[in-house]
């Protein structure tokens, strides 16, 4: 994620104007009537913790269940950070042991999608699977070297699993969403920890692929991981397409997010907007084309913003030209700046030179 991850965990990346990446996973869980959700955070979690300061936005915070934020803690017999995905679960095994729910959904916070996890669970039970992995066929031409690829037999049982291959044998990738029985998970994670292994995919999924019944559940709907600059940029730009907007914004169930109490967006004389998303709290005085402007953006007079993503709370001074850029949140762009991504997307990070009066 280059400079963008200096500020926050990928799960807290702003997406589609008004949301953060983790909103999609959390809303899907809420909409699937999953009542107990634990979020594991470790890397740069300030921004994420701020976003999760209340669970009411996603309708958690019930008497039954709730939203738990589990960070690594120092205890008498452990002073490690989370050394991997399986280790994160292992360090919080008591949480799993104390729960009574029979099944666990494991998902990551860096994907943009809508999903009813109940459908996956039904499939999981139907196939008598030990683990079900949600998969998607990628379009030809997409590089697989960031994904885990899977190969299934005709019954959808996973036969091969490769992590981030340079040359992929299939174009089916794992979406990083798993359904597993809680007791099974506890057993596998304990086993894994005994061998000093810490990664869920490498040390649990791949090692067990011939012993346990691991099935793939294929989805055809929109799913995209945002964990690289190109994918992050592309995902946001996808929301300029009417079918993507319609799918996420207008079709029930909704995606929820923290409410910021911002005023409506305002367009003054000189504003000229073409094919763009503008979020609440923005004030626009200039030209915006093919771009996504997040909340509280200020765009000065005689500015031109083209094919760019302007993250939250950015001030852009007069006569500025921005093209093919991602402007980091909180930046203050001085007047008369000229910022163009010549080869690919340029990431612009500026200090916040404004003061709250």
């Amino acid at each position: 994620m280059k400079e963008l991850s200096q500020k926050r965990a990928t799960s807290a990346m702003p997406v589609a104007g008004s949301y953060r990446s983790i909103d999609f996973a959390l809303s899907n869980m809420s909409n699937s009537r999953i009542q107990k959700v634990a979020v594991f955070t470790q890397y740069n979690s300030g921004s994420l913790n701020e976003h999760l300061n209340s669970s009411k936005w996603w309708d958690f915070g019930r008497k039954q269940g709730g939203l738990y934020v589990l960070t690594p803690t120092v205890t008498s017999d452990n002073n490690n950070w989370y050394r991997g995905t399986a280790d994160a679960i292992y360090q919080n095994l008591d949480f799993l042991k104390k729960s009574h729910e029979p099944y666990v959904v494991i998902a990551s916070g860096d994907c943009v999608y809508k999903m009813d996890f109940n459908k996956v669970l039904e499939y999981h039970i139907d196939k008598k699977a030990d683990i079900t992995v949600v998969c998607k066929d990628m379009d030809p031409g997409v590089s697989m070297d960031r994904y885990g690829t899977v190969k299934m037999n005709e019954d959808c049982r996973i036969e091969e699993f490769e992590e981030k291959p340079l040359v992929a044998k299939t174009n089916t990738v794992s979406c990083g969403i798993y359904v597993i029985r809680r007791r099974q998970l506890i057993e596998m994670v304990e086993h894994c920890a005994e061998d000093d292994r810490y990664d869920f995919v490498r040390d649990i999924l791949i090692r067990h692929k011939d012993i346990k019944r691991i099935y793939g559940y294929k989805i055809k709907d929109y799913w995209r991981n945002i964990a690289s600059v190109e994918d992050y940029f592309g995902t946001n730009m996808d929301f300029l397409k009417p079918e993507v907007r319609n799918y996420f914004f207008h079709q029930y169930p909704d995606i929820y997010s923290k409410v910021d109490d911002l005023p409506p967006a305002k367009y003054n004389v000189g504003a000229h907007i073409k094919n763009s998303l503008i979020s609440s709290g923005c004030i626009v005085n200039g030209v915006v084309e093919d771009s996504v402007v997040f909340k509280k953006g200020y765009i000065g007079n005689n500015c031109t913003i083209k094919n760019s993503i302007i993250l939250n709370d950015v001030y852009i001074g007069d006569n500025t030209h921005i093209e093919n850029c991602i402007v980091e949140s909180g930046s203050t762009i001085r007047a008369n700046s000229y910022l163009v991504g010549e080869e690919g997307i340029k990431i612009v990070v500026e200090r916040d030179d404004r003061y709250v009066i």
Partner: protein, 422 residues
């Protein structure tokens, strides 16, 4: 024992009949304002920003939208362990049951509610003004003067003073006299309908005046306190305060929000106005759109041209449609090729292709010229307007209308077309 220094009672039961079809289904405090807000958001936000965390909202007329909007008060942080917001509708009693017959009668019927918080002071508010005000400063003024009652007042131009309740004070702001809409005003201080009472004074006067029919603060309770020689003071407020009781003042107050730096600024970090957000997604502006001098709410899709307008959340404005000088509320859909001039269009309205609103010569409204004037076209909520019709000025449309309702596809200026409600 529970003890709250000051609690607020917010009168939100009025119909606001001068807003015409806008309030045929909802109480005036629940009418949309400024794109995403409702009028009641302003006094509720003022309360929490002033540190008043206990608010009783008195409802009576068409309370459904108000009830769902307020809920348990989460948007205003008024979901509290002790206090918070309570909606107080009229209720049946063992001996009798009556509606709220006047502003003070409504408060009288909720004496038990106020008593339960053991307050020192009670703030009386109405749910139909747009303003930002720190009630704590007003309370400091009240305490400094050892007042029994403090009335917030606002200087108005003397030539307009005859439209208001006018208050005459001495040089220390102690109230000498009042006049209701005087022909020859002796002062230019207009009452804003905001009062702070000592709880003891309020309780005593409400009980003493209980038998008065249609018990009203301005007409009965304040004069009663004055006659008894209680110290009444006027607190002068000089900020933005706008009554949105008529369609034209409602339209003007909305339009003032689109000025470059509006007098009433919603974009300040300090003193935020909170509301229940009904929609989250950003707004989409298409390739062929033009937007100038407008404010637009979340989740709205714009494919046409918008000038000088206030657009709510979840609105669709179709291709080749031109909207000028208009207010369009939440979830309304205007299809393609329309021309909308100086219209107030309520929530969930559907306007089909090629409709023209606000065209032709002006003519006074034939049924209610005191409500529908200033050249406005007013469309009530959930109305449907069939494609291709032309609608004149000073008109009103409400309900599902069909082509048969329009003679030669025209609704001439000054006509009213009301099929349901009112």
């Amino acid at each position: 024992m529970i003890k709250k220094e000051m609690i607020a009672m917010l009168l939100a039961g009025g119909q606001g009949s001068r807003l015409g079809v806008l309030t045929s289904k909802v109480a005036k405090p629940a009418v949309s304002f400024g794109g995403k807000y409702r009028i009641i958001d302003f006094p509720l936000s003022n309360c929490i920003n002033s540190g008043v965390d206990t608010v009783g909202v008195l409802t009576q007329y068409q309370p459904l939208r108000l009830n769902t909007h307020i809920g348990i008060g989460i948007p205003w942080d008024l979901d509290r362990n002790i206090g918070g917001v309570s909606v107080l509708p009229p209720y049946e009693k063992s001996s009798n049951s009556e509606w709220y017959t006047g502003t003070a009668n409504a408060i009288y019927q909720n004496i038990d509610y106020m008593e339960s918080f053991n307050p020192e002071y009670v703030l009386i508010l109405s749910g139909d003004h747009i303003y930002k005000m720190d009630y704590e400063v007003m309370l400091d003024f009240h305490k400094a003067n050892n007042a029994a009652v403090t009335i917030a007042v606002m200087p108005v131009p003397i030539e307009e003073a005859s439209r208001f309740g006018i208050i005459i004070t001495d040089e220390n702001r102690r109230i000498q006299d009042f006049e209701e809409k005087p022909a020859n005003p002796r002062s230019n201080l207009a009452s804003m309908g905001i009062y702070i009472f000592n709880w003891k004074t309020l309780k005593e006067s409400l009980i003493a005046m209980a038998e008065q029919p249609a018990l009203d603060f301005g007409k009965h309770v304040i004069p009663y306190c004055h006659e008894k020689g209680q110290p009444l003071y006027a607190y002068e407020f000089n900020g933005y305060w706008k009554d949105v009781g008529t369609l034209s003042s409602y339209w003007e107050a909305n339009m003032e929000l689109i000025d470059i730096v509006p007098e009433f600024n919603l974009y300040e970090e300090y003193w935020k106005i909170y509301t229940k957000s009904e929609s989250l997604p950003p707004q989409y502006i298409s390739q062929d759109s033009v937007i100038e001098r407008s404010i637009i709410g979340e989740g709205t899709d714009i494919y046409g041209k918008v000038y000088n307008s206030v657009i709510g959340c979840g609105v669709t404005i179709g291709k080749d449609t031109v909207v000028r000088d208009s207010i369009i509320m939440n979830n309304t859909c205007i299809q393609g090729g329309c021309e909308i001039n100086k219209a107030i269009i309520a929530e969930n309205v559907t306007i089909s292709d090629g409709v023209q609103l606000g065209v032709g010569e002006e003519a006074p409204n034939e049924t209610a010229p005191h409500i529908y004037n200033s050249g406005l076209v007013t469309v009530g909520e959930k109305s449907v307007i069939p494609s291709g019709v032309k609608v004149g000025k000073n008109t009103v449309i409400s309900g599902v209308t069909t082509p048969e309702d329009y003679e030669d596809s025209i609704l001439a200026s000054g006509k009213s077309l009301i099929k349901a409600g009112e």
